[in-house]
C-alpha cells in the first residue's frame, strides 16, 4: 500500500511539474503590449531603441514605429504584432537605414503584412506635414515623437505613389520647408 502511494505521488508530482511549466509559459505570453515590444527588441538584438508610435490597426493588430542603435538611431524600424490566444505575437519587422544628418526629412516605402507604409524621420520642430502627390491626392501623415526627433508615417490604403511633394509646417502654421521625396515601390527587389 505504502509503495503504491509513493508511486502515485511521484507520478502526480512529475505531471504537475510538466503541466506547471507549460502553463507558466503560456501565461507569460499574455502580457501588456509594451512589455511584448521590449521583449521583441531584446529578441531582435536591436538595442537602445526609441519608440515613436504604436498604431492599433484593429483590436488584434498593431504596428510599432521605432528607431534603434545608439547613438545615431539611424535604423528606422516598423514591427507588426498580432494578438492571438497566446497574447501579442511577433509577425514581421522591417528596419531601414536613413541617415538624417542635416536633412529636413527622409522617407522610404515598405510593405509589411497587408499594408503599404511610408515613413521616415523629421525634425521635432515640424508640427504638421502635408503630402501632395503628382495626381493631386493629399495626405496628412501621423507624427510620432521620441526625444529630439520625430517619425512621420502614412499607412496607405490607396494606390502607392513614386514621388510626392512634402510641405512641412511649424506649430504656427508657417511653412518650414518643401521637398519632393521619391519612393522605390519595388523595394526590396
Amino acid at each position: 500500500m505504502k509503495k503504491r502511494i509513493i508511486v502515485i505521488i511521484v507520478t502526480v508530482i512529475t505531471l504537475l511539474t510538466i503541466a506547471g511549466y507549460l502553463i507558466t509559459e503560456r501565461l507569460n505570453a499574455y502580457q501588456d503590449i509594451e512589455e511584448v515590444i521590449e521583449q521583441e527588441f531584446r529578441t531582435l538584438r536591436q538595442y537602445v531603441e526609441d519608440v515613436y508610435a504604436i498604431e492599433f490597426l484593429d483590436d488584434d493588430r498593431a504596428l510599432v514605429f521605432y528607431s534603434w542603435d545608439f547613438p545615431a538611431f539611424y535604423n528606422f524600424g516598423v514591427m507588426e504584432l498580432e494578438k492571438t490566444w497566446q497574447g501579442w505575437q511577433f509577425v514581421e519587422a522591417i528596419s531601414n537605414r536613413m541617415e538624417r544628418k542635416r536633412a529636413w526629412l527622409k522617407g522610404v516605402y515598405a510593405e509589411i503584412g497587408d499594408h503599404v507604409i511610408l515613413r521616415g524621420p523629421t525634425w521635432a520642430s515640424v508640427d504638421k506635414i502635408e503630402i501632395i502627390t503628382a495626381d493631386g491626392r493629399e495626405y496628412i501623415p501621423e507624427l510620432g515623437r521620441a526625444a529630439e526627433w520625430q517619425m512621420w508615417y502614412l499607412i496607405l490604403e490607396d494606390e502607392p505613389f513614386e514621388e510626392a511633394t512634402f510641405i512641412l509646417y511649424d506649430s504656427d502654421g508657417e511653412v518650414l520647408h518643401e521637398e519632393v521625396l521619391e519612393f522605390d515601390l519595388n523595394w526590396p527587389e
Partner: protein, 170 residues
C-alpha cells in the same frame, strides 16, 4: 495490498518515457533558442555596421532575415574599395559582396595586424604627419564604416592620397 512486479515495471517505464520526452523537448528547445539568439545577434551587428536594410520574417527557429544594401552601404563599400585599390593587402571580397554574404564579407576585417599595417602605410605614403595622434586600425575602420574623421587627421590623409576628393570650402 502488494504491488505486482508487472505494475511496478509499467509505472517505471511510463515515468521514464515522460521524463525522457520532457528532457528531449526542452533540451532541443534550449539549443534552438541559443542558435536563434546567436543568428539574430549576427544579423543585428552586420545590419548596423554595413548600414543594411533588414526584413525580419521569423525570429524563432529557424530564423529568417533578409538583408539588403542601402545607399549608405554603397558609400561604405566605395570607401573600402578605394583603399583596397591602392593597398591590395586590404582584401575587398568582391564575390562575397555580390553574393550579399555579409558575414563572409566581414571576415576581411578580422586581422587587426594587417589593418594596422595598412593604416601605417597610408600615413607613411601621405605627406601628412600622424605625430601625437593615436592612429590605429580603429581609425581605418571608423573611416570606412562611419566616415568618421574625428580624433585623427585621416581626412587629410585620404585627400592627400587621392582616395577622397578635396573638400569644398563652405
Amino acid at each position: 495490498m502488494k504491488l505486482s512486479l508487472k505494475y511496478k515495471v509499467l509505472t517505471i517505464v511510463i515515468l521514464s518515457i515522460f521524463i525522457s520526452a520532457f528532457l528531449y523537448y526542452f533540451g532541443t528547445k534550449a539549443r534552438q533558442e541559443q542558435a536563434t539568439g546567436e543568428a539574430l545577434k549576427d544579423y543585428s551587428y552586420i545590419a548596423r555596421e554595413y548600414a543594411l536594410d533588414a526584413i525580419y520574417k521569423s525570429t524563432e527557429f529557424p530564423v529568417e532575415v533578409e538583408l539588403y544594401p542601402s545607399a549608405h552601404t554603397e558609400a561604405i563599400l566605395e570607401r573600402w574599395k578605394a583603399i583596397s585599390d591602392r593597398y591590395p593587402e586590404l582584401d575587398y571580397p568582391e564575390s562575397a559582396i555580390e553574393a550579399r554574404d555579409w558575414i563572409e564579407v566581414h571576415k576581411a576585417f578580422e586581422d587587426t595586424d594587417l589593418l594596422n599595417g595598412v593604416i601605417r602605410k597610408m600615413y607613411k605614403d601621405a605627406t601628412v604627419t600622424s605625430e601625437g595622434l593615436g592612429v590605429s586600425y580603429i581609425t581605418l575602420l571608423d573611416y570606412i564604416f562611419y566616415q568618421k574623421y574625428e580624433a585623427s587627421n585621416i581626412e587629410d590623409v585620404v585627400i592627400d592620397l587621392g582616395i577622397e576628393s578635396p573638400r569644398e570650402e563652405e
